[in-house]
């Protein structure tokens, strides 16, 4: 046999796809009969609906805060005037009108803190300290009662500050609790395991509304007479306990997915249980369930609207309150709903994008 030398072929970049609009359309939108039909159907729907929607929402819409003009435009144009007229009531609920700047600043501080906490650069021990300061500022501004600021009790808090407060605190409290419960469910200690299983199964067996009712109306019955815990606090604890039970199962899913060898390697190296969880197991497990956890966070943000049923008027509740108390504007609920839906969307969509960014960051650095 002849002597042959192996000549490796140098790697080349993959070919760049170059094609015009025509081939692209053909390949993606008109490749076969069903796809062509679907494309035409959607184009027809867009042609039918979009101009109508555009007319209703913009050209025919009433922006002035005039109920008469809105009545006149009814059926043909949207009444954004309801937002112009009621936005302070929708955003801040029954918070005293002249003091609403306090609620605005408090909300801005809270949202600002959440945004800052999302940036890796600020993941330092002092961030916790700043959170304490921010919370103090938030509650200081909301309660008032000093420096010439009128005292405002929690039953008059409402609108966006209440939504942001409930969502942020319940997320911040429920997340660590859920991790603890997830670890507890996998514990070798029967007592801890039983407690965690019972907790999760009990909470998952009842609707959030009933938890809120219990927190708000039944819990005080069991307290010694004369003692009272603020309804806001009780509701916050209720939401936290409820959501943590669901999230614990998500986290447990991540824990199950970690190969047994990781724990064995940690054991072999002499790491203690907590060291192994903290350094080895949880970082991998949590990274795996980021989408599920963010799902819970988003659900928590929107579920805060249920506290209306125990007379806490957060964003949705404040909107209903604002319109129901005024028969002139009551017919324009749809526009008001679209307004708060937009607010919810901004928050939830940001959370969703952040989750994608985290996922991307976690996956790019570890694999080839």
């Amino acid at each position: 046999m002849e002597h042959a030398t192996f000549q490796p072929i140098a790697p080349r970049p993959a070919p760049v796809r170059t094609e015009g609009v025509g081939p692209w359309l053909k390949r993606n939108l008109f490749s076969n009969l069903p796809s062509t039909v679907a494309t035409l159907l959607f184009v027809a729907m867009a042609v039918w609906w979009l101009p109508a929607l555009f007319n209703w929402g913009l050209t025919q819409a009433v922006f002035a805060a005039s109920a008469d003009q809105c009545q006149a435009a009814r059926g043909s144009g949207a009444c954004w005037g309801v937002v112009t007229e009621k936005y302070r009531l929708i955003l801040f609920g029954r918070f005293p009108y002249d003091e609403q700047w306090r609620a605005l600043i408090a909300t801005a501080v809270m949202v600002g803190m959440v945004v800052v906490s999302c940036v890796r650069l600020f993941w330092k021990p002092w961030l916790g300290l700043i959170w304490l300061v921010a919370l103090a500022v938030f509650f200081g501004l909301m309660f008032g009662g000093f420096a010439g600021m009128e005292f405002v009790a929690t039953d008059r808090w409402g609108g966006l500050p209440l939504t942001v407060l409930l969502a942020t605190l319940s997320i911040v409290l429920a997340f660590p609790l859920s991790v603890a419960v997830a670890l507890g469910r996998r514990s070798n200690m029967p007592a801890i395991k039983t407690v965690c299983v019972l907790y999760v199964e009990l909470i998952r067996g009842v609707p959030l509304i009933s938890v809120l009712f219990m927190a708000s109306f039944m819990f005080p019955l069991f307290m010694p007479p004369g003692t009272s815990i603020d309804v806001l606090l009780r509701v916050l604890v209720g939401i936290t306990l409820f959501q943590a039970a669901y999230m614990a199962e998500t986290v447990r899913g991540g824990l199950q997915a970690i190969p047994k060898g990781q724990q064995e390697a940690a054991d072999t190296l002499g790491l203690s249980y907590w060291q192994a969880q903290r350094k080895i197991i949880l970082p991998q497990a949590l990274a795996m369930v980021v989408p599920g956890i963010m799902n819970s966070f988003i659900a928590m943000f929107k579920d805060t609207s249920l506290v209306t049923i125990v007379s806490l008027y957060e964003l949705t509740g404040a909107m209903s309150l604002a319109l129901n108390s005024d028969s002139d504007w009551r017919p324009f609920k749809i526009e008001a709903y679209i307004f708060i839906a937009a607010i919810y969307f901004v928050f939830c969509f940001s959370m969703s994008r952040y989750s994608l960014w985290i996922e991307h960051r976690l996956s790019t650095s570890k694999n080839r």
């Binding site: 390697a265 190296l269 060291q275």
Partner: protein, 247 residues
């Protein structure tokens, strides 16, 4: 003769109620001894070495490692694990940490070394397994052979007296087996006590002081590699050797 570093006395273990995986194991390992354990799958050889650092618990008998008896006592387990390093078939590196972080984790958190010292020691061990240039990479960016060498270095960072190898080359591509065996051979020349579950008979012949053959939870035969391969005593051993050497 000096005190043995590991002694099994009538050690028994069951998985569940009716799988008797270790049966009356008696074994003593001298300090610095290099032992290769082989046998068919399910014979209990992995379980045997996993009992030594208590990844598995034995139910009967006495097992002493470096003078400490392994019991439910957490302190005893802790102390034994300080002396025993282990290398797994599936490497079990921590994929979310870089190679260097994999190596410094235990020295910093268990050995309480300052970061700088831990990193120095880690680089020393990475040099020993000839892979220092990969310190900044993540495990999944390395080949199987490189990962296994990192795993060996990680175990060595705690300066163990005993090293356990649980089929360290079984998950590797054929081209990478040699680089791992070379590192292990080098290690064997440095006086560390080694117990190695493997089917690499060339390695056994070159390195082992003693070869142990297990079947059905029992030690069937133990001998020097020379005697074991050339003059096996039991029929079961002959049968096994003919199967693994015959092809």
């Amino acid at each position: 003769m000096t005190e043995p570093i590991i002694t099994f006395e009538k050690v028994n273990k069951w998985y569940g109620n009716d799988f008797h995986v270790l049966r009356d194991i008696d074994l003593s390992v001298a300090k610095g001894e290099r032992i290769v354990i082989c046998g068919p799958s399910g014979s209990g050889k992995s379980t045997l070495i996993r009992c030594i650092n208590r990844l598995e618990e034995h139910q009967q008998g006495t097992l002493k490692v470096d003078g400490v008896e392994l019991t439910d006592d957490v302190k005893a387990v802790e102390q034994v694990r300080k002396e025993v390093g282990m290398v797994f078939q599936q490497f079990n590196l921590f994929p979310h940490l870089t190679v260097l972080e994999n190596l410094t984790l235990a020295p910093m958190w268990v050995g309480k070394l300052p970061k700088k010292e831990a990193e120095e020691r880690a680089l020393q061990q990475l040099n020993r397994v000839r892979i220092a240039e990969q310190a900044g990479k993540y495990p999944l960016q390395l080949s199987g052979g490189q990962q296994q060498r990192v795993a060996i270095a990680r175990a060595l960072c705690l300066t163990p007296k005993i090293m356990l190898f649980d089929e360290p080359t079984s998950a590797l591509d054929p081209e990478m087996i040699k680089e791992v065996l070379d590192v292990m051979t080098e290690l064997a020349g440095q006086g560390i006590t080694m117990l190695c579950v493997t089917h690499e008979m060339g390695f056994a012949k070159a390195v082992a002081d003693r070869v142990i053959f297990m079947d059905q939870g029992q030690i069937v035969e133990e001998n020097t590699p020379h005697e074991f391969f050339d003059n096996p005593k039991s029929d079961r051993t002959k049968d096994f050797l003919s199967k693994i050497l015959g092809h």
